[in-house]
Amino acid sequence: MKCHNVQKKLSAYQDRELELREQEQVTSHLLSCRTCREQYAELERVWQTLGELPEVQADPFFYQRLTKKMEEPPKRLFLPVFEGFFQRLRVPVYASILFIGILVGTYLGNFLTRDGLFRTNHVSHPEEMTDFISLRAFDPLPPGTLGDGYVRMVSYTGKEPR
């Protein structure tokens, strides 16, 4: 058996999961091959290391706590009489809520864009907004203001304005 094949089987060899013949072949290979032997030793070392993880001690009152827990009534969302009823209705109720949500959303969307707040054909804006978005924003600035001074400065060409 070649090293490549042996190394693929080392894990199963360690777990004694190979067939007897294969197990013997790997054993004889390990006796003669130092590289594979070292790899196997490394695998064993990790296995031993895992054994150092401590075991949790059993709780002496485990059974008492368990029976107490089992005696507690299960947490219920509904009265027992209605529980089965609501359980059966869960899927159709969720589906109906989703369907109604889509219908209401569609209706509101159409209503608001056609007749309501967001209609687009008759847009009415406050006066300050129309001033801002219209060409009136580019009207000459009142003389003597800071804005007027700035515009005069950036547009200064050395000639007197007509």
Partner: protein
């Protein structure tokens, strides 16, 4: 009642409502179930809660239980499913669990030296070793971790692990090869 009755026989009695049989069964399997959960999840308090949940399910399922496989395979399958569900729901509160796990492993180490014999240095060294091993285990993907724990600590065969996890024997072999390789890498600097 005979304390040496096989678990399958106890289950038949539990199905008839025999609480004594249930107590024997719980006492027989609580440590292995608790440790399987603790090693998988890394949180001792949660492990205790989940172990209780496992036995609640055993009681509830007693009437439908059919001894097709070994009882341990059946109870470990319940345990594994609960652990996987817990991992899924715990991913939302991972930060919280991470901190509790540290606290928990410290408690568990202190319990292993309950007679108070070790020196402070021994305790510190042991805590550090446990932390490294536990972190290496927790870093494995869920299926690899469960396969490795069942193999290493419960000494189950590949066939039994395959039944518990719900995969083929060759898949178990592959999971274990990858898990061991990862642990070799993670525990490379671990010193005796």
């Amino acid at each position: 009642m005979d304390l040496l009755l096989p678990s399958e026989e106890l289950m038949a009695r539990i199905a008839e409502g025999d609480e004594d049989a249930f107590e024997i069964l719980v006492n027989r399997h609580q440590t292995s179930v608790l440790n399987l959960i603790y090693r998988f999840i890394g949180d001792r308090t949660q492990a205790k809660d989940l172990a209780q949940e496992v036995f609640v399910r055993v009681w509830q399922a007693a009437k439908s239980y059919e001894p097709k496989a070994k009882f341990t395979t059946w109870i470990y399958k319940i345990t594994t499913n609960l652990c996987l569900n817990e991992i899924k729901s715990a991913s939302r509160r991972r930060w919280f669990l991470f901190h509790r796990s540290d606290e928990d492993s410290e408690k568990s180490i202190e319990e292993t030296f309950s007679d108070g014999s070790p020196t402070a240095e021994d305790l510190l060294l042991s805590k550090e070793r446990t932390r490294q091993i536990s972190e290496a285990l927790q870093s494995l993907p869920e299926n690899q971790r469960m396969a490795l724990i069942l193999r290493r600590y419960d000494d189950l065969s590949y066939q039994e692990i395959a039944q518990i996890i719900g995969c083929s024997v060759s898949a178990v072999e592959s999971l274990l090869v990858r898990a061991k390789r990862t642990l070799q890498e993670k525990l490379k600097n671990y010193e005796e």
